[in-house]
Amino acid sequence: MNSQFPELVPRLESYATIKTWRERHGRYRMQGSRCKKCNEIWFPSRDALICPKCQSREFIPYECARTGEVLTVQHEIMGYPAMGYGELSPRKIVMIKLDDGVTIISEVVDCAAEEVKPGTKVKMAFRKHKREENGCWMYGYKFVLNK
């Protein structure tokens, strides 16, 4: 679905919107897990899974640091945007080392491409993403420059 074809097209491989809802805490606040037994932090959340370090299944919610540094950047100019992201292309896709040591994949917005380099300081921002399969807008984390 995009501006050219605004009607919903039934697709076999569509995610149910319930999935988007289930994962809202991670998407809105970068909420992962902290293992109650060994204290290790995990992102994405390992809630209801097993801690790879100590095999415990008891976790408490953990919100990742909201500031960090760009490790490496891809200027997405290849012409293969992900479904639902075509109008946002080209995106500045990055690996970020957060200040608490967690590494994530995300994108940097609201700046020029040349402002995003290895070592650039960034902070989390709450932004509109794509439309869910039911047509509602999905929101979640992106990053902006932390000047």
Binding site: E23, L71, E76, M78, M83
Partner: protein
Amino acid sequence: MQKPNFKKVVLASAAVSGPERSVLGLGYRQFIMKTVLEALDKAKLTVKDVEVGSISYNERNITEGALGCVMADALGMVPIPFVSISQACAGGAICSDIIWNYLVSGRYKIGIVLGLNKPDNFDFRDAMGPIGNYCDYDFMLGFTHENYGHLRSEWYKQKYNYTDSVAAKWAWQCHWYARRNPMALANSGPMPTDEQLNDPGPAGYRARTATGRNMASCLVFVTEDVAEKLKIEPTYFNVSYAHRPVYIGNHFGYTGDERFAPYDMAEQPAIKIAAEEAYKIAGITADKIDIAQVHDLSSYDGMMALEWLGIVPPGQGGKFTAEGHTSIEGKCPTNTDGGAIAFAHSSAGGDFSSKIYENWLQLTGKAGERQVKNPKVTVAQAYGTHHSLDVVGILKK
């Protein structure tokens, strides 16, 4: 891992489909028939001789929930066991591992491994996004396996201070081999120019990165005694695989297993784990390897593979490539079929099996113009879903 006391497994024969980019007139069952029959025929076997089968596919382009059942039926092999595996690009290796286990245990003596990739079976753009092992916050937030690959390449270059000229050299070498391989997608046409391969824009990136193709592949494995009966020159097969976390952020200092903790996205410890086991079972060491087929979805992926297979030290893959050691006269001729860049990338259809096929041609002296002189030990490496699955297969005389 104990060195098992088992029957030796021989690759009796292999076949891959031709380089046609599109096979629109055939459904996937019809498409794979020619390849299966060709492989069996080369080994002087028929469908009735096969005791166990397996097939690797990607359920994003073959929308079947039980492909093993479909293939046993299509091949007229009912009621033999037929296992289907959907484990991305390296799925063929998992199928090979299953058949290897059936044969080494002595339970069966003749098994086939099929691979099938037919993206024209499914709307490509729709299929593209979800292909891979994406977990909570990557695919959903608009990051695909192409972003993973591109970021890994950028990190590798940055970490070891390489420029795209080494990737251009890698891609050029792949094209050199492909021009000498009639089964390669890039078998004809002029060689790419230095200017094209070093282009800093999207065209250059594509030239240094994999291109896709349809693929049907078939490997025929038998136990050593059957090979002897069939008067087959034995090439012995062993395989191993290991996993890495699915989320790309966890490829930096993963604390879930101490073997991964020191490493980052440009390092491939799961290849090392798989390689060590495969080498041990096969009774070889990395320095004995004469030919390598590695999974180069980007040229840098190929270099990383050479490093973590133990063929060159970490960080030296780019230098090794630039110095020409992957060429037919080099220290380790690499991707002699043309690799994912010029033979082309077929995911579950052949990204592992086509490499085994090429190594088999090389070991049996049937590689024509790209024949490496007298190889004895070959390695094939493939990854699935961005190194959350890493496999290593050894084929040797």
